[in-house]
């Protein structure tokens, strides 16, 4: 920095703290830091004083105490004697479950509605516009309440399946739709079932390998192999053969009405379904708009250029339009996934045991540890959001158009 020709070093004057670009930034940052520390100190001392006055203390000991309450839908072992921490884990897994399911279905709804909004069928176009506008402009909370009410009020109670002349009956004898949830047959894993599953997994890998090979062959020799039928064959045939060869090791457990409820099979609780469906259809409306914008964003020139090169319309879509549209669609899509995860906290309205309902709800109420519970709750959502944001950044960087 310093050479003979450099500006002569002025001796430091206090006024330079504001007028000199070198010190000015430091001055501002120091001021900002001091203000921040002062604010934190102020809030912290208030908190300490208030807690002292109320005779409370911050302690996470309660996490190890037995929770004492039951949860209706758990994917991991849990009883009322499990700890509050275990209840929180149940909640976390339930949050992730409903978010994951809703992300998938919302994407399906959104893509269908978004593509249909660009359809040349007037009626369908208007219908989809109606769907998008109605769902986007009414709060998700109302949708959750409405859909939950539909679930409980319009679906038959299990008792309607009872009796000699029941008001409702099971679909195909194995699916029951009740206002307490949907009961579907579940698998029974017999001996040898792992082999069947392993075969299936191997087939899936095989399909990818085949498609890769076909593409390579096209690039190397210009020969185009058929894609669809071989894929289906590779996917299904080995598994089916193995299934019968091992003597059908995987059976189905059908739900049946026993006592008050259906038993057996897999039960998907009404709260989960209501929340899942409400989040999907609400967020689907937003995704539909993204999809539409994404497809419209690919300029017509791109399609024309591809057509001028002699590509057929299917290939134009696959090779030119979609890769570019996806670049526009995916970032808002991911932030919609983030919204689903955050909106899943409304599970509390339908009694679905997500993290907000367990840790932030029942545990908070029963232990009265409000500050601790809310802090942990925010921490969990923060970790999830930052995780998803990180994925988004990686994607954005990977697909960024290489430009000068």
């Amino acid at each position: 920095m310093t050479t003979l020709t450099d500006p002569p070093k002025e001796s430091f004057r206090p006024s330079m703290l504001l007028s000199d670009t070198r010190y000015r930034s430091i001055t501002f940052q120091v001021i900002a830091l001091v203000l921040l520390i002062a604010a934190i100190w102020y809030l912290g001392s208030n908190l300490a004083a208030n807690l002292r006055a109320a005779g409370l203390n911050i302690s996470f000991q309660f996490l190890n105490n037995p929770a004492g309450y039951d949860i209706n839908q758990t994917l991991i072992p849990y009883t009322s004697q499990s700890s509050n921490l275990q209840a929180a884990w149940v909640g976390i897994i339930n949050t992730l479950l409903v978010s994951f399911l809703a992300c998938i279905t919302a994407t399906i709804f959104g893509v269908i509605a978004g593509v249909l909004r660009l359809s040349n069928n007037w009626l369908v176009r208007k219908l989809m516009a109606g769907y998008v506008e109605i769902f986007r402009n009414i709060p998700v909370l109302i949708w959750i309440l409405i859909i939950y009410t539909i679930m409980t009020a319009a679906m038959p109670a299990p008792s309607a399946f009872r009796g000699d002349d029941p008001a409702s009956s099971m679909m195909l004898g194995s699916f029951a739709f009740t206002n307490r949830g949907v009961y579907i047959p579940g698998p029974i894993w017999g001996p040898g079932s792992t082999i069947v599953v392993a075969t299936f997994v191997a087939s899936v890998i095989g399909v990818f390998a085949y498609r890769r090979y076909a593409t390579k062959l096209l690039y190397d020799t210009g020969r185009l192999l058929p894609m669809l039928w071989p894929s289906v064959v590779i996917l299904l045939v080995p598994t089916i053969v193995m299934f019968f060869f091992l003597g059908m090791p995987i059976g189905l457990d059908y739900p049946a009405l026993k006592g008050f409820n259906f038993r057996g099979g897999i039960q998907i609780g009404a709260p989960l379904i209501a929340l899942w469906f409400a989040l999907s259809i609400y967020t689907g409306a937003f995704i539909a708009e993204n999809v539409r914008a994404g497809i419209q964003a690919v300029s017509k020139g791109q399609t024309e250029a591809a057509a001028a090169l002699g590509l057929r319309s299917g290939r134009i879509m696959n090779l030119v339009v979609l890769p570019q549209a996806l670049r526009v669609i995916i970032p808002p899509l991911i932030s919609n996934y983030l919204n689903i995860t955050k909106n899943s906290s409304l599970a509390i309205l339908v009694g679905y045991a997500d993290i907000t309902a367990t840790l932030g709800g029942i545990t908070l109420n029963q232990t009265g540890r409000a500050i601790e519970c809310v802090v942990l709750l925010m921490l969990f959502y923060l970790v999830i959001s930052l995780g998803i944001s990180m994925v988004m950044n990686v994607y954005n960087n990977a697909t960024k158009l290489k430009e000068r």
Partner: protein, 255 residues
């Protein structure tokens, strides 16, 4: 014409750059630049893209920071002191390749903004000055339009007028015509020539060699961040010394 222009050059130094160096990270953009500009001089800087010509003139009004060496404008040493920077910027006007007019303000507002807020000129007086310069660049009738409603050439002339409203003693031009359609280049160049004839000190990065021949009293060729060659236009164009200059000139004049 060139002779009359030359006569206006005084001995007074307008800009003195001493051993100036600049890096972008590890990339050495400007290397040991030494340049003295006298008042009334009109200097054209040319060179291949990426040679640091724009960076050089942007350093002069502190749009870019240099890391080593010194720049002195009108006797003021450019330092990190904000007052210094403000003083230099109000002495030095600048025109950009993309005009950089403020699209949300009318032409008149574009021209009066800085005089009012920086020079603290009363609004009325600022507007009179602005109209004076708009007349000078021959678009007074557009004063109440927005930049987006003007053609590129008109916009660039407004940009020149906007700079002039600050009554600068030195004007910097950063490729003022390269974003323009061919038929608009002339109107901008005419304005610049007029300015030059009035004795404005000008540093101009441009590839308009006709302009250089007609107006400049010195042409500087830069390459790889260094001043490779400088000379009077006649000598520069007719008898370039450095092989790099020769190559460059043959490429831009060759067709």
């Amino acid at each position: 014409m060139a002779e009359t222009a030359q006569m206006q050059v005084s001995d007074e130094v307008a800009i003195r750059i001493n051993n100036m160096n600049k890096w972008y990270g590890a990339f050495h953009v400007l290397r040991d630049i030494d340049l003295t500009v006298h008042r009334g001089e009109r200097i054209v800087i040319c060179g291949p893209s990426g040679s640091g010509k724009s960076t050089l003139i942007r350093c002069i009004n502190a749009l870019e920071e240099h890391q080593k060496g010194s720049i002195e404008v009108d006797g003021t040493l450019l330092s990190s002191d904000l007052k210094n920077i403000d003083k230099i910027r109000s002495e030095v006007g600048m025109c950009f390749q993309h005009f950089n007019l403020f699209p949300h303000l009318t032409i008149l507002e574009n021209c009066t903004l800085a005089p009012i807020w920086v020079r603290k000129t009363p609004k009325k007086e600022a507007e009179e000055t602005a109209m004076h310069f708009l007349e000078k660049v021959k678009i007074p009738d557009q004063a109440n339009k927005y930049p987006g409603q003007l053609s590129g050439g008109q916009q660039q002339r407004v940009a020149i007028a906007r700079s002039l409203c600050m009554r600068p003693r030195i004007m910097l031009f950063d490729e003022p015509t390269s974003a323009l359609d061919p038929e608009m280049i002339k109107e901008v160049l005419d304005t610049m020539i007029e300015l030059a004839e009035e004795g404005m000190t000008m540093l101009c990065v441009t590839h308009e060699m006709g302009f250089a021949r007609q107006v400049a009293n010195r042409v500087i060729f830069m390459d790889e961040g260094q001043i490779v060659e400088q000379n009077e236009p006649e000598a520069f164009f007719n008898n370039p010394q450095s092989p790099r200059t020769q190559l460059f000139l043959s490429q831009i004049l060759g067709h």
